[in-house]
Symmetry: C2
Subunit: 396 residues, 2 copies
């Protein structure tokens, strides 16, 4: 059976060159980079290099502004909690969008329990934040705004540059969760105008244990992990050198390759969108039709459930997701789709295809061919679809 992995938002495979870069640090170069003796030298040099590689990917040569973390969720928690608590004497109001990842959303909810106040900026039907809505939510005591760069569930890319023009004018910090975008589209912290940015290696063919938070020089952040003096005293804990090196290598490759990747992914994505929406009735593309991640095709398929489709696609060798992998096993309705105005009923039919550089145009054709009978079969078992047919005699 053909195997088609279309769940790159859940995680990407490691590039062989990334794995090769990591292996020495799981072998002879096992030392602790903090060590003063020679065993610390190679790990420390490799970390310095990785810091430069990650800096280069996001357009900064001030590599000391990169703080390595263990995962994107840690980067987002660190940003939200660390920046907010550092500024709490100035105010306790935070603004985020209604479609943030749970690692931003729930970190902000935790701050609410500590006496902070939270405002959620709405999005339109395409999942786009209107910068003017951000402005409307700013108050005298607003200390932090966090709007994601791109949404992993619906693929929409946000107008961060326009939002940062507003936050800068007001002197308020702006963090962006660039975990779904970084490595997949060009990301430049200076162009975006942000003060802090989260990224994760496993979104661009790097390791799961390698992620980072970039914090602009001069911006104060309170550590999430207290302890030793690693990462300039901002993130204690023995450094996971192999993962950091892998993150750096993946970043270097992505920086060179990102436009090629986009040029490969966009036609595949568009053929998948065209194929599915033309061949199957009552399928809605979710997220922005143009301004979306290059490998991202997400849909709501009416009258049936995302999980059922996912399981049947799995049985023909196709891996997709029905939302965020962080909640996939919770089987909850997506807060992202709800915020975009989809009904509970339609949001249930969510299906997310995230393409990668190893996919081919033939894979897309295979998906379209396999998907069609699956939808037919599931709709045959669907009481909702039955009801719809009866109400619309003469319809499909």
């Amino acid at each position: 059976m053909r195997k088609v992995y279309l769940d790159h938002y859940a995680t990407t495979p490691l590039l062989p060159a990334v794995r090769d870069a990591m292996l020495p640090f799981l072998g002879e170069s096992f030392g602790n980079p903090m060590s003063l003796h020679n065993w610390g030298d190679a790990p420390r040099d490799a970390m310095d290099k990785a810091r430069e590689q990650v800096g280069a990917l996001i357009g900064t040569d001030a590599s000391e502004e990169i703080i390595f973390t263990s995962c994107g969720t840690e980067s987002n928690n660190f940003a939200i909690k660390g920046l907010a608590t550092a500024l709490q004497s100035k105010g306790k109001h935070i603004v985020i969008s209604a479609i943030e990842h749970f690692s931003v959303m729930n970190a902000a909810r935790s701050l609410e329990k500590m006496g902070f106040q939270l405002s959620l900026v709405p999005v339109d039907k395409n999942g786009v934040v209107n910068p003017e809505d951000v402005r409307q939510n700013l108050r005298e005591d607003t200390i932090l705004v966090s709007i994601m760069h791109a949404n992993g569930e619906v693929g929409t890319i946000q107008p961060i540059k326009e939002i940062s023009a507003i936050t800068r004018e007001k002197g308020i910090l702006l963090h962006t969760d660039a975990i779904a975008s970084c490595g997949n589209i060009p990301v430049n912290v200076k162009d975006l105008g942000v003060d802090a940015l989260s990224l994760a290696g496993n979104q661009f063919y790097g390791p799961k244990g390698g992620a980072a938070l970039w914090v602009k020089k001069g911006v104060r952040i309170i550590p999430l992990l207290d302890g030793g003096i690693q990462e300039g005293g901002r993130r204690a804990g023995s450094e996971d050198v192999a993962s950091i090196v892998g993150l750096g290598q993946a970043a270097e490759i992505a920086a060179v390759d990102v436009v090629n990747r986009m040029n490969k992914l966009i036609p595949m994505r568009d053929s998948l969108i065209k194929g599915l929406t033309e061949k199957i009735s009552h399928v809605v593309l979710t997220g922005h039709p143009q301004n979306r991640l290059p490998g991202h095709a997400s849909f709501c398929v009416e009258f049936i459930e995302g999980e059922s489709m996912l399981m049947m696609l799995n049985s023909v060798g196709i891996a997709v997701s029905s939302g965020s992998s962080c909640t996939s096993r919770a089987l909850k309705i997506s807060h992202v789709l709800m915020a975009m105005g989809y009904t509970h009923e339609i949001a249930q039919g969510s299906l997310v295809f995230t393409l990668g550089i190893d996919n081919s145009i033939d894979d897309m054709q295979y998906v379209v061919e396999e998907m069609s009978p699956i939808v037919v079969r599931l709709r045959q078992m669907s009481p909702v679809y039955d009801k719809f047919l009866k109400a619309n005699k003469g319809g499909q």
Copy 2:
């Protein structure tokens, strides 16, 4: 030149069997364990196995009580902050020892800034906590006690069982930082009587990115990382499967091998202690003379500085530490030695040898031979030693 790595407390090399267990998860089994499709199956099964392996190492078959983290520092931060904040409606007083690792100490200090109160239990000259001193520090509003199982700087093993008898009697939670001990001596959570325990794979030939916090069933803990539903909702973030699998494999091997390892390490340690203290004058063994980690030999060498010795030992191929790797580059005087009553002057001469299973008795002889002339040379340059000699004519 001979290479002798005696800094296993900074980090251990990976066992080849551990690396082999990890590699598939850096290759074909790259999937996200949260995924509902087949790509999630092997990673999820491997994580389940790792959870059982780690549980078995610490004497519990309730593997759901194991929460995977990214490093020992995260485990300690999670324990201190998560257990204390979960109980803050009951009280805000925390008790720790004066010689805790910075990841416990500074996490507790962070809680102080949030309105918690902290008491430090003293230690004796050997670095031992007297259980009665713990009792003396307990108050009506004490909600958490954290006393490390063994100290990585001076090797002393604490009477946790006697301490837990007291905390249990009072109904107060007891956490122990077993990062330096777990995998190196038998650790059993039931025997110890604790409610939570931190461990880290890179202390027993596992990977740097694999660590865990064990929390007894029924004990509530507030997450440090908010977000998705991973780790039973207690630690969000994409799981670093390779590191978790490596931790599990290292735990399984340690569980079988721990007594063999001790039998190999203790005679080496004792020969090193004997050799150094007999051959060099004014050398003091720090920590408990008997009740100490099997591979741990720590000293204060009078009249000279630990870092100078470290650098000169490095030049003859010997890796040692002058304290905790988390602070080695800060070159601060050890709070552990100060708490044990050493003067600033003597504590400066701290040197820590942590042996591993790849060391040999010949390594110990090499260290003793090389160390002696180094001390002589450094003392020749030492104004403090010169002063001492003049004051004690006829001395060494």
